[in-house]
């Protein structure tokens, strides 16, 4: 840089200013002076506020997990917006509300660790980096799912305001599941999420399949919650507290051989949570429920509920497995979970091949993706498996939302969910066909899509742990997966259809566009997400 010339130009400028507008120059100086004073006063106020009421207010907003409060209050507001005659407002309002919550949770992400109600046994919930990242994935997915629901706005029988409100309440439960520091909060989160989903599953009141699905989901879910609670009681009996810190201390202080009660409690709790993500021996409810529920809520179930479940599993399993602490515990349970992973991958992928309904196929593919995610949980390395899970949940959620958006556009209100209805879609609606193709490629794990890197990161984390046989099984099953995902693509581009035009609403187009752009962007530059958030 050249040294600034101080003599000549400044003097000239000063003369110039003073000669022509002395008053305005004075004004400027006064203004500057006032500004300076104001800044000093403000900074003093800020310094003062650190010990004062203002700071207290700020802390209240931070410590009470603002995103949870916002979602609850917005949900209630949404209910009342439903009384307005203009139904579109409800959709825009709920999207705006979710977006605000997304921004708030993103602001929380880069902040320090915030513990909710720290005075009580070391806190009930914590807003750490992991939980906020999961929250980001789930809120983003919710934001993508909302525009798919435009058909409810025209339907006189439907109650869109209530649906959105219940979805937002269920998001509260999902956020609690990924940020708990006390097992009671885990239970409350699971319940809030599940009960909302039971209601929404049966929301298509005049459809027998929807009613059947709701009853099945409710009964099976209640049993799973019961098992979760039994496990929690046993764990409490052994540890003497519900907090994660107490459990960690207990696990590091005791050998697994000496504490069968705690181990039994751990196993039962794990079964309860694995039910929610539909891992293999506990997956029987999934296909029927996914098929019976209205597609919008199936999309919600297979993305957000699964993400919340896997977040809860990761947090819970971490308590019993991180090597410095749970050195004697990990060998005791990892074989059981490995069997669950293999079963999940095998049953999910092989059964999906035999489905004739696209929606049922997506249900089984959801089971298989739960298997991949569980693999990363099983690897349990502090950095790489957490990264893999976060990336995989985002990639899977975005692709699944696009797939369900395409399905809803093709099926319409008539529940035409067979593969045959996709025949010839490449000619009648090239955009829809292309976006379904991209989402199928991502779910299958083809390179240049997000799904490929998701699988890659998962396999790498499992490799790091040294569970090579799991990787072999998973790669074989991924190859099986390619078959049934490509069936849709073949139907769309190589089969002759009846050339009936397919109408796509503008909301669906927006969702599909954003989901596909995200899928490809994450497939080309996976570090985008990884570096930004973790």
């Amino acid at each position: 840089m050249p040294p600034p010339t101080k003599n000549c130009p400044v003097a000239v400028k000063n003369n110039h200013v003073q000669n022509i507008k002395p008053a305005s120059f004075l004004d400027l100086r006064v203004l500057f002076f006032i500004l300076q004073k104001a800044i000093i006063i403000l900074s003093k106020l800020l310094a003062f506020s650190k010990k004062s009421y203002l700071c207290k207010l700020r802390n209240i907003f931070h410590q009470k997990m603002l995103s949870l409060i916002l979602l609850s209050v917005f949900g209630i507001t949404n209910l009342f917006l439903g009384f307005l005659r203009q139904r579109n407002i409800v959709l825009f309002a709920s999207m705006a509300f979710t977006f605000i919550t997304l921004v708030v949770s993103w602001l929380d992400m880069n902040g320090t660790l915030i513990t909710f109600d720290a005075s009580l046994n070391g806190g009930m919930m914590a807003n750490d980096k992991l939980s906020t990242s999961f929250a980001f994935v789930m809120l983003l997915t919710a934001l993508l799912i909302f525009p798919l629901s435009t058909h409810y706005l025209k339907d006189k029988e439907a109650q869109p305001a209530e649906y959105y409100a219940i979805l937002m309440f269920s998001l509260v439960g999902a956020l609690m599941m990924v940020s708990y520091k006390n097992l009671i909060m885990l239970f409350v989160g699971v319940e809030i999420l599940s009960i909302s989903m039971y209601v929404l599953t049966g929301s298509d009141k005049h459809n027998v399949k929807s009613n059947e699905a709701a009853l099945k989901y409710f009964l099976m879910g209640s049993f799973a919650t019961g098992i979760l609670l039994f496990g929690m009681a046993l764990l409490y009996g052994a540890v003497g507290a519900f907090t994660t810190e107490a459990i960690q201390t207990y696990v590091s202080a005791n050998k697994v051989v000496d504490s069968p009660m705690a181990f039994l409690g751990f196993s039962m709790m794990l079964i309860g949570i694995l039910f929610k993500i539909s891992a293999a021996p506990f997956h029987f409810w999934t296909p029927d429920v996914y098929e019976g529920a209205p597609s919008l809520f199936t999309a919600f179930m297979s993305t957000i509920v699964k993400t919340a479940g896997i977040g809860a599993t990761l947090k819970f399993v971490t308590l019993f497995g991180f090597i410095p602490l749970g050195a004697s515990w990990y060998p005791a349970w990892y074989k059981g979970v490995a069997i669950v992973v293999i079963l999940t991958l095998a049953i999910g992928n092989i059964t999906a091949v035999y489905q004739s309904s696209f929606k049922r196929m997506l249900a089984y593919s959801g089971i298989s993706h739960a298997g991949y995610l569980l693999m990363a949980v099983l690897a349990l390395s502090p950095v790489s498996s957490v990264k893999a899970i976060l990336f995989y949940t985002l990639a899977y959620s975005v692709a699944t939302v696009a797939a369900f958006g395409g399905l809803m556009a093709v099926a319409g209100n008539k529940r035409k969910e067979e593969y045959a209805y996709f025949n010839g879609l490449g000619k009648t609606n090239p955009f829809l066909a292309l976006s379904i193709t991209i989402s199928m490629l991502s779910l299958a794990g083809i390179p240049l899509t997000a799904g490929f890197f998701g699988k890659l990161f998962v396999f790498l984390s499992v490799f790091e742990r040294g569970l090579y046989f799991l990787v072999v099984v998973a790669v074989l099953m991924a190859a099986v997966g390619v078959y049934y995902y490509f069936r849709v693509i073949i139907a769309m581009y190589m089969r002759e259809g009846n050339n009936e035009p397919v109408q796509v609403s503008s909301g669906t187009i927006a969702t599909l566009l954003i989901a596909n752009i995200l899928t490809i962007a994450l497939g080309i530059a996976p570090d985008l997400w990884l570096n930004w958030f973790m």
Binding site: V239, A241, T249, Y250
Partner: protein
């Protein structure tokens, strides 16, 4: 261990098991005893649903209007709400203004729910 002064072993819960056994045993024994001890008189009139009054017509399992269920569940909801007021009333002085504001928040949520119910015409019988 960390927060409890005493560690409870599974054997400490034996009294609960005994209590449970007694409760189940009492029911089973009374059911068997009433059948064994009571007199049995069967006749056509005795086996009717109602021995006197109007002749029963049709199936007992007719669908009931969902309004009844709604009213019933809303009654339970607001009944439970009142129950939550009791512990607050007992600890009213101890909890002070904090408890007061918490309770106001809670009641406000319940009232919002009540207003919603009224607006949705759930309580209207036509």
């Amino acid at each position: 261990m960390l927060f409890l002064t005493k560690i409870y072993q599974p054997s400490d819960y034996l009294p609960i098991l005994i209590q449970f056994g007694l409760a189940v045993g009492f029911i089973v024994i009374t059911m068997i005893a009433t059948h064994a001890l009571g007199p049995k008189r069967h006749s056509k009139v005795k086996d009717e649903t109602w021995e006197c009054g109007i002749e029963p017509v049709g199936d007992a399992r007719t669908p009931i209007s969902v309004k009844y269920f709604l009213i019933a569940i809303l009654f339970v909801l607001f009944d439970v709400e009142v129950i939550f007021l009791y512990p607050w009333a007992v600890n009213f002085k101890h909890l002070g203004w904090f408890g007061f504001f918490e309770m106001i928040t809670y009641l406000a949520f319940m009232l919002i729910g009540f207003y919603y119910i009224v607006k949705r015409n759930v309580l209207k019988w036509e």
